[in-house]
Symmetry: C2
Subunit: 237 residues, 2 copies
DNA sequence: TGTACATCAGTGAACGCGCGTTCACTGATGTAC
DNA sequence: TGTACATCAGTGAACGCGCGTTCACTGATGTAC
């Protein structure tokens, strides 16, 4: 009879610990050499085991990479969701909730720049992310969407400022997308959400991948100002 | 006496050709294995020479990488500048000129996704870009700035739509930045330009690094719509 | 125009290092009777 | 409680491959007299 989850054998406990240590070592190696430089042999070295022993824990290097990606998405998703739901329902205001969620994302990215690069940087050559990564991958975005969707559901969205209209075909696609994620918002709002997400993401890449090169000294202020504008464009108050 | 530039010796001609072939092979290898997978030995193999011969052309792998980066920035800068200046002065309108420039950038990125990744993706581990890359690196952005700066210079910018104000310190920094690049525009406009550039960049990363995952089917339409909004926000007409 | 010399592209071997993955094995831990 | 057996984490050696860089060299191309 297999051991019940409450009663873990020493073997099981050790296995979990070492697995966690391998993942931690992998994450720190990610930071030093990038995803392309992640090597099973050097993980083994770090933990004082022989390289082939790693295969007891991960069937291949790609499987390890997938695990790292999913865990990182989940970690980011969690902080984003926590920030987003912390502001839900209370009187704080939707714009403040939006800002807090975006800031949570930025702060995670700054604390984990290499995880951020793994998730949102150039694809790792020779590695194709399996479908398991899709679900966790949209969590961070959905945390932002939730702020807007809930504001829309209770009619708290301001009338959007006028601007160029969406071309018809694109509006149709975006309406379909809204339905897919189960958000009851207009195509116009979906467009603004997509724009907001890519904007946020672009700004963070810019900051983390050092594209600023000293052009902007206070990245946090620029980020906050930009996010405030996005909230305004979305009609959050 | 060294040969004059007009009279090239066979040796010089061969040298230039082979150098170009090496760069071309490097670029194609970039596409297959990414920057981290770029290898001098396999370049040599591809050209049928011995690995050490490559050192006649580039002092090190990093020097090659730097050359690739600068060339890519210059290529992108060139198409952006061409699109930007093609619309200058004629009656086409500033917004159209802005759109054309952005589209030129996107089209180059789509044609050269791996160069794009090299320039704007996650940094190559173990490689620090030298200062020579800074100048070429800002050319693409300046091509976009030019559109706005010229419109501002002849008073063709519309009054910006109202939105959250910039915090004072940030406004100060941005005014300094405007002075540095020699553009006579307000801090508010600089902010919108930065936002526009990171937006554009984020949208392209999103598209090229496959973050969309089938969420958006017509990336071009979304891009055009987004860029039109950016032009609107900047007051271009 | 012919000859001696200098330049320099490309060779081939070597140094010292890395990698992912497989495989037969040992020996401790866990399980069933 | 004690013993026989099964599980499985970790070993050590090997396979077959990759890499950047250095170095003394050969031999064709180019230059000066």
């Amino acid at each position: 009879m297999p051991a019940s989850p409450t009663h873990k054998t020493a073997r099981e406990r050790a296995r979990e610990e070492i697995r966690a240590e391998l993942l931690a070592a992998a994450r720190s190696q990610l930071a030093e050499a990038g995803a392309a430089g992640l090597s099973l042999r050097s993980l083994a070295r770090e933990l004082g085991m022989v390289s082939s022993a790693v295969y007891r824990y991960f069937p291949s290097r790609d499987a390890l990479l997938t695990r790292l990606i999913i865990d990182a998405y989940d970690a980011l998703g969690e902080v984003a969701e926590a920030a987003s739901s912390a502001g839900a329902g209370d009187g704080e205001g939707d714009a403040a909730r939006w800002l807090a969620t975006a800031q949570a994302i930025r702060s995670w990215a700054l604390r984990h720049p290499h995880d951020f690069a793994l998730l949102y940087g150039s694809p790792v050559p020779g590695y194709a992310a399996p479908d398991d990564t899709v679900g966790p991958g949209i969590r961070p975005a959905l945390a932002l969407v939730a702020v807007v969707a809930e504001a829309a559901a209770t009619d708290r969205l301001a009338e959007p400022a006028s601007g160029p209209a969406l071309p018809g075909p694109l509006a149709g696609q975006l309406a379909t997308l809204a339905a897919t994620v189960g958000a009851e918002v207009s195509a116009e709002t979906v467009a603004r959400l997509l724009i907001a997400w890519t904007q946020l993401f672009g700004l963070l890449s810019f900051e983390l991948f050092n594209q600023t090169r000293g052009m902007v000294s206070d990245n946090g202020a620029l980020f906050d100002a930009t996010v405030a504008r996005l909230a305004h464009d979305l009609g959050l108050r």
